[in-house]
């Protein structure tokens, strides 16, 4: 554990929030995509909204090893990492549009289950978290620089 431990923790959070941003961008970009994947019947399915799940960065081999060697008390602070990106299983939006190439026999089109409002909220949340982590990082830097001023 070095003086830069807090930097590394914040860096992991910044990376995670950037990935959240990427996922939100992907959701918004694909909000009209009707041909994302082909299902077992050979028919196209619309894009499914993606969501990011986060977990503490401690769930890795190194931390389990140090826990087994009973050194865990010394270092309880960890970063964050993305555990996986999951699909939103809510039903697709259905719209009556017989002219659409992907409309079914009744004239209905299945559209992605992407809600622009939710995406905007996620976008703001990711941006604010990113900013918060940058602020925390700068505060840490400020502390270190102040410490270097001791006895000046």
């Amino acid at each position: 554990m070095s003086v830069f431990n807090s930097f590394n923790i914040n860096a992991s959070a910044l990376t995670a929030q950037r990935l959240r941003m990427d996922v939100v961008s992907s959701n918004i970009a694909n909000s009209q995509t009707t041909r994302a994947v082909m299902n077992a019947d050979g028919e196209f399915e619309p894009y499914r909204r993606k969501m990011v799940t986060l977990q503490p960065g401690s769930n890795n081999f190194k931390s389990f090893l140090s826990k087994a060697m009973s050194k865990s008390e010394t270092n309880q602070t960890t970063g964050v990492r993305v555990s996986n990106i999951i699909d939103d299983e809510t039903p697709f939006k259905v719209e009556y549009n017989p002219e659409h190439p992907d409309a079914n026999e009744e004239g209905y089109v299945e559209l992605p289950n992407v809600d622009p409002l939710k995406e905007m909220v996620d976008l703001m949340s990711a941006t604010r978290s990113y900013e918060a982590n940058v602020t925390s990082l700068n505060a840490n830097k400020g502390m270190l620089m102040k410490a270097l001023e001791i006895g000046k």
């Binding site: 990082l137 830097k141 270097l148």
Partner: protein, 99 residues
């Protein structure tokens, strides 16, 4: 008036202390410590330089990684200069000492 020589002063403890100081010097000399820390600073600086180069070449995804590496390097160098300043201060203090 009868002035006597300092014949019975026991220098044994002083010599012992001197030996101890010499032992410490042999184990980890100041020059060695200085060199080690300078090597560390060099490593951190090189890492920051490498990341900046990779960013310019478009080989890096995370801008914040580059910035954080640069900040780490800057703090390390700042700490080194502070320590260098303190060492020089101490040297000057000793050199000004009245004998």
């Amino acid at each position: 008036m009868n002035v006597q020589g300092l014949s019975n002063v026991n220098l044994q403890p002083l010599n012992k202390e001197l030996n101890k100081v010499n032992d410490v010097n042999n184990k980890q000399s100041f020059a060695k410590v200085l060199q080690q820390s300078l090597e560390h600073i060099n490593k951190v600086e090189k890492e920051a330089d490498m990341k900046t180069e990779m960013l310019a070449a478009g080989k890096i995804d995370d801008l914040h990684d580059v910035m954080i590496s640069a900040q780490k390097a800057s703090i390390t160098v700042e700490a080194a200069t502070q320590i260098q300043r303190k060492v020089l201060d101490a040297y000057e203090e000793v050199s000004r000492m009245q004998v």
